[in-house]
């Protein structure tokens, strides 16, 4: 078995365990490449039946429009149900407050909406496309990660995971996050996209875009940023990760084709999440967000 096949087998085994062990699972779908790969794996896992659970998208209201367009197309294509949790609703209901200032982002606000959506839909398992090679705190994440009533992750109480015996036993009110592509690297995801000919949002490919520089990174110009017009420039860029528009930086690139992008990533000297401002806030930014219920 080649590595991609091994990783696919491992992921589909995990997806089937989620469906076998839980009553109300769902797939957390961001519209990014990792969740598109995961969606496709879920589709393969239950062929010729339909995917037996819905997708959940936590919409910050700051999404790239290209991501939403493709999301809606994929919903039809894979014939799955979609639930959208709106961060704007959480803000309007006064459950969270918009961050202020230059670096304001809705990224961390997602957590409240996510937890509320899980509770409203009574989900007991949420699958996500997180990978251990992304970030140091994620390197310690389990395949089945138990969250308490408050959605909290306790790194000291993680269950040991032995062989392929995945322990999904939980108490009422608890739920698990499951990560079928834990062992995939960024390059594996790209190569799988190529192998399976998956459609991904166009912003992953090089395109001309108005950007401005912040801390050495090119940020997309959006109505959510306060930008001095003099700072705006047009560059050929692509996005390496697709998160909230307010905190995702672009990389300069001319790569308009998948093969070229894969080659760029293979030889890149910067890490994938190096372009995520949300991770750069502090030493343990990801760990702290995970503890309170982030993906």
């Amino acid at each position: 078995m080649n590595i991609l096949k091994q990783l696919e087998e491992e992921a589909i085994y995990i997806i089937r365990e989620v469906v076998g062990q839980f009553n109300k699972p769902a797939l957390l779908f961001s519209g990014g490449k990792d969740s598109i790969v995961l969606l496709h794996l879920c589709y393969k896992a239950f062929l010729p039946a339909r995917i037996p659970f819905p997708l959940v998208h936590i919409d910050t209201g700051h999404n790239f429009p290209e991501t939403l367009t493709l999301r809606d197309k994929l919903i039809k294509q894979y014939n799955v149900k979609l639930h959208v949790g709106l961060v704007q609703d959480s803000i309007d209901q006064g459950k969270v407050a918009e961050e202020k200032g230059h670096f304001a982002s809705r990224n961390s606000l997602q957590t409240a909406t996510l937890l509320e959506t899980i509770s409203n839909l009574k989900l007991d398992a949420c699958m996500g496309g997180a990978r251990r090679d992304e970030e140091k705190a994620r390197a310690k994440e389990r395949v089945f990660s138990v969250r308490d009533d408050f959605g909290q992750w306790n790194e000291k109480l993680q269950r040991p995971e032995l062989f392929d015996h995945l322990n999904g036993a939980i108490h009422p009110g608890e739920n698990i996050r499951a990560f079928p592509i834990s062992n995939w690297t960024e390059l594996d995801v790209w190569e799988y996209i190529r192998q399976e000919k998956l459609e991904i949002p166009t912003i992953y490919y090089a395109h001309k875009r108005a950007v401005f520089k912040r801390e050495g990174q090119f940020m997309p110009v959006t109505k959510f940023h306060q930008i001095d017009p003099d700072q705006i420039e047009v560059q050929s860029v692509r996005f390496r990760t697709v998160g909230d528009m307010s905190c995702t930086a672009a990389v300069l690139s001319e790569a308009e084709e998948l093969d070229v992008i894969i080659e760029e990533i293979r030889t890149s000297t910067y890490s994938e999440r190096g372009a995520r401002m949300d991770d750069k806030r502090s030493e343990g930014a990801m760990e702290e967000r995970k503890k309170i219920g982030y993906f």
Partner: protein, 413 residues
């Protein structure tokens, strides 16, 4: 290109995180932004060299205390191979992490401090590799820079390890001994110029070339995870039994039996993700369609009858205990064998094994990090085969029914 899964083991301060950080660095797996972070952090900690352990110690608490407290997974590659390292910490109280890391690995990289040589922890770690049936072990004698790169020190440690191996019943074990300095980079990628007396392979040489392919197991078992029944007109009578080929292989036309019902039938067709296959092999997922209409649910097995597999309600197992609340006679737990679960009562705790000395003592309970022998009375019949005979079928986890935590792991005797 293939994938090698390596588990690490070693005591606190043996320099394991530094070694792994170095492996990431030497293979170019640390990107510029990560490297910048390490440079800044090392400088602000007042070091005159790069502290590569910063690359792996992921949690804030760990970085505060300078120790590794949980299994961390790291990814790197060379031109020849891809690697996943499960970095298990070295504290005595974290033996469970090493068992966990090792359970999903092909080989173990066991670190020793050249100044200390074989210590109690080394014996514990070696014992665990053998409990889990690891056939290839790399002994990395680290911190050679602190013993003036002395051949005598290395030879002595090597002899002590060889003696440790001889003292246990090891079959088909291959070991490698490498003197190195993770801090200075000796014998990792390049041969050390300070240890010209060492004519063996560098660490990279070993991990790039080590062969871990074991022949597929003889027993043919597929455990059902889910039954696929499309609610679509075109597939009205479709019943696909989906699961992993845990052991052996299956071909279209094979006569098989269902466990636990005992029903006999034949394989009509095999699908993998909607595509028909003639044969599926160990480790692959498959959806089997059968000749006869049979009642099968999650946790059942499709298998070829074999003398090695026993249907039983009692099992005897080596147990590694992983939680604070002890395993005691009469206690009830949930045992999980892949997708099969059964309640069980502890019928007896036979002995606790002194894994650093080799002896054993009678006990009525197993405490956190103890390894011992216990027997269980199960509520349901399961298929049992000794772990040492079939690593893919012979293990299970023990779940605490009050907390739902994974309380331990068992290896069928």
């Amino acid at each position: 290109m293939d994938l090698l899964r390596i588990a690490t083991a070693g005591s606190v301060d043996d320099g394991k995180s530094t070694l792994i950080g170095r492996l990431l660095y030497e293979t170019g797996s640390l990107k510029e932004d990560q490297l910048e972070h390490i440079e800044k952090k090392s400088a602000s900690n007042g070091l005159d060299h790069l502290d590569f352990s910063l690359a792996t110690d992921g949690l804030l608490t760990e970085r505060e205390q300078g120790i590794t407290i949980d299994v961390s997974h790291l990814y790197f590659k060379t031109k020849k191979r891809r690697f996943i390292i499960a970095d298990s910490p070295g504290h005595i109280e974290y033996t469970r992490n090493m068992v966990t890391g090792t359970s999903n690995s092909d080989t173990t990289l066991l670190l020793l401090d050249a100044r200390k040589g074989v210590i109690e922890q080394t014996k514990r770690h070696f014992y665990i590799t053998q409990l889990l049936g690891i056939k290839k072990i790399i002994f990395a004698i680290n911190k050679m820079d602190l013993v003036a790169y002395a051949q005598k020190t290395f030879d002595q440690i090597k002899e002590d390890i060889a003696q440790l191996i001889r003292s246990q019943n090891t079959k088909g074990l291959t070991v490698f001994y490498i003197p190195l300095s993770a801090l200075k980079g000796d014998n990792l990628l390049l041969k050390s110029t300070k240890m010209r007396w060492y004519t063996g392979k560098t660490l990279f040489d070993v991990i790039e070339n080590i062969s871990v392919n074991e022949p597929p197991s003889k027993e043919n078992v597929l455990q059902v995870q889910t039954v696929i029944r499309p609610k679509l007109d075109a597939y009205h009578d479709y019943r696909g039994f989906a699961g992993k080929v845990k052991s052996g292989s299956f071909s279209v036309g094979d006569a098989i039996e269902i466990f636990p019902s005992g029903t006999k039938t034949k394989i009509k067709s095999i699908e993998q993700y909607g595509i028909n296959q003639e044969q599926v092999n160990q480790g692959e997922n498959a959806t089997l369609l059968l000749e006869d209409e049979v009642n099968i649910s999650r946790g059942d097995s499709l298998f070829t009858p074999s003398h090695s597999i026993e249907a039983t309600k009692t099992i005897n197992a080596k147990v590694c205990w992983m939680q604070d609340k002890a395993l005691q006679v009469e206690n009830k737990y949930l045992l999980q064998f892949g997708s099969k679960k059964s309640l069980a009562k502890v019928a007896a705790v036979d002995e606790r094994i002194d894994i650093s000395g080799g002896g054993s003592e009678n006990t009525a309970a197993l405490e956190l990090n103890d390894i011992g022998i216990a027997s269980f009375q199960l509520a349901h019949t399961i298929q049992s085969i000794p772990y040492q005979k079939n690593k893919n079928l012979g293990s299970f986890i023990i779940i605490d029914i009050q907390t739902n935590n994974t309380a331990g792991v068992g290896f069928i005797e």
